[in-house]
């Protein structure tokens, strides 16, 4: 357990010692504020445009989970897995007194921590900008539930990205391939309803299911189990590939 904790700290340090990790966090904060500023301007000038006041943080969440989150997750996962194979630093941790299972798990935990930090940052910036720009938020509980609920599919996406990264020995190839695979799945689900209903990428912003107006507990539970099944499959196959990886 000590070696797992040690490696989680190491992997998180690795991620945050890279400038781009911090730059992306700052960019997300700026983008969140600018979106709020844009909405506030529209609301002031064009009152008839229905920008539902409380939905601003959730609207931001939808943009984040569908566009920016996959990008950040793929970047972090390809850096920590394939990127380290390419720059020959993966062997530095593989020769430490820590098992491959713990290394694989700690890398996933590190990316997950980064993702959760992103969620917290966007939540705080959206709430603060709403307060500063006087955008009224009618139901803070719904917003909090929405952000908390969306963390679950985000973590499944982390496991998926880690699985994809096992097929590549270069960080950039892994990143580009992950993005194309993600876009491919999204495009295919547009044409195939069965795929659309059953693929985890459809539910990256499933918060609407947890909101008071549209809650369907049974459907929510069903989707939760579906997401967990994806998580287990991707984790197991990803770990198998990582364990067999030759450096």
């Amino acid at each position: 357990m000590d070696s797992l904790k040690a490696n989680i700290i190491n992997e998180v340090r690795k991620l945050f010692l890279k400038k781009k990790t911090i730059v992306y966090l700052v960019l997300m904060a700026i983008m969140s504020f600018l979106t709020a500023f844009f909405i506030a301007t529209i609301q002031a000038k064009l009152i008839f445009i229905a920008v539902n006041s409380f939905s601003y943080p959730l609207m931001l969440l939808a943009i984040f989970t569908n566009i920016f989150l996959p990008l950040f997750v793929f970047m972090a996962a390809s850096d920590l897995f394939s990127g380290e194979v390419a720059d020959r630093t993966l062997k530095l941790v593989l020769t430490m007194p820590v098992s491959r299972f713990k290394i694989y798990l700690s890398k996933i935990v590190a990316v997950s921590i980064y993702v959760i930090l992103n969620f917290i940052l966007i939540f705080l910036v959206s709430m603060l900008s709403a307060f500063c720009l006087k955008i009224t938020i009618t139901s803070i509980t719904s917003v909090v539930v929405g952000y908390l609920a969306d963390i679950i599919p985000a973590l499944i996406l982390v496991i998926f990205a880690s699985f994809i990264a096992q097929f590549f020995r270069s960080g950039s190839t892994a990143l580009i391939s992950s993005i194309f695979i993600f876009i491919g799945i999204k495009a295919l689900s547009l044409f195939n309803t069965l795929l659309n209903n059953n693929i985890f990428t459809t539910y990256l912003n499933w918060y609407s299911l947890w909101l008071p107006n549209g809650t369907n507990l049974l459907r929510g539970l069903n989707l939760l189990l579906l997401l967990l099944a994806y998580g287990i499959i991707f984790f197991t196959v990803g770990y198998y590939l990582f364990d067999k990886k030759e450096i």
Binding site: A6, N7, D87, T95, S99
Partner: protein
């Protein structure tokens, strides 16, 4: 290590490698480029999956007790890589987190040992090859391991760097009673540095650990012994 076998898809690899490295040895693993030295090194540190045989380090089976086996091992395999985006201190702190008995002063001491004290907070990306090599050695030495595995440790070093590295290894073996397992394709280097040698040729072990002293009694030099072992009649 007993019966270590690893054959790659192209048919190359190593077959039935068996030898023991005893406590206190500076054990040289000599062979030409492509003989399979790095494959063996990777096999005994878990970087490669071996197809046959087993490796025991300080009584622990590498396969089933990996963490215990590697707890007392420091290794530099293939190239002396470090995290370039980290400072020398961060690189060492990375190792220290795995061991409860490594303190800040141990990091300072090891930096002093490899002459990197003045570069403690400098990023490794700005280091010369020799400095990176010394930082990699510091990483391997920091936990004060009982066994140090070094793959071609003097590769890329200039004459001064090579002599420094050689002296450091001899000093550590003598003062800290560390055991070294060193691969090299340089006969002269092994002769000057090691007290035992095993020779690998075309993926097979030619001998499994002979004392350099005894070799010198029977042969003019390690080079003569090497040629005698790998070529018919002792000539190339």
């Amino acid at each position: 290590m007993a019966g270590l076998t690893k054959i790659y898809k192209n048919g190359r690899g190593v077959k039935d490698i068996t030898f023991d490295v005893c406590t206190g040895d500076i054990f040289g693993f000599l062979g030409p480029n492509g003989a399979g030295k790095t494959t063996v090194m990777k096999g005994i540190t878990g970087l490669n999956t071996i197809q046959k045989g087993h490796v025991k380090i300080l009584g622990y089976n590498l396969d089933s007790q990996f963490e215990n086996a590697m707890r007392n091992v420091g290794a530099i395999i293939e190239t002396a890589d470090v995290y370039e985006y980290m400072s020398a201190y961060e690189n060492l702190k990375f190792i220290a987190r795995f061991y409860q008995n490594i303190h800040e002063e141990d990091i300072d001491n090891i930096l002093e040992l490899v002459n990197l004290t003045n570069y403690k907070q400098e990023k490794a990306s700005k280091f010369s090859l020799g400095m990176k090599q010394r930082l990699a050695l510091a990483r391997a030495l920091l936990p004060n391991p009982k066994l140090i595995i070094l793959d071609e440790p003097t590769n890329g070093l200039d004459i001064e760097g090579t002599v420094q590295m050689r002296n450091l290894i001899k000093e550590l073996a003598a003062k800290r009673k560390m055991t070294f397992f060193i691969s090299s394709h340089l006969v002269h280097e092994v002769e000057l540095m090691c007290n035992k040698v095993a020779i690998i040729h075309e993926g097979k072990l030619v001998n499994n650990g002979v004392s350099i002293e005894s070799i010198k009694e029977s042969y003019h030099s390690l080079e003569d012994f090497y040629l005698n072992q790998v070529t018919e009649g002792g000539t190339v």
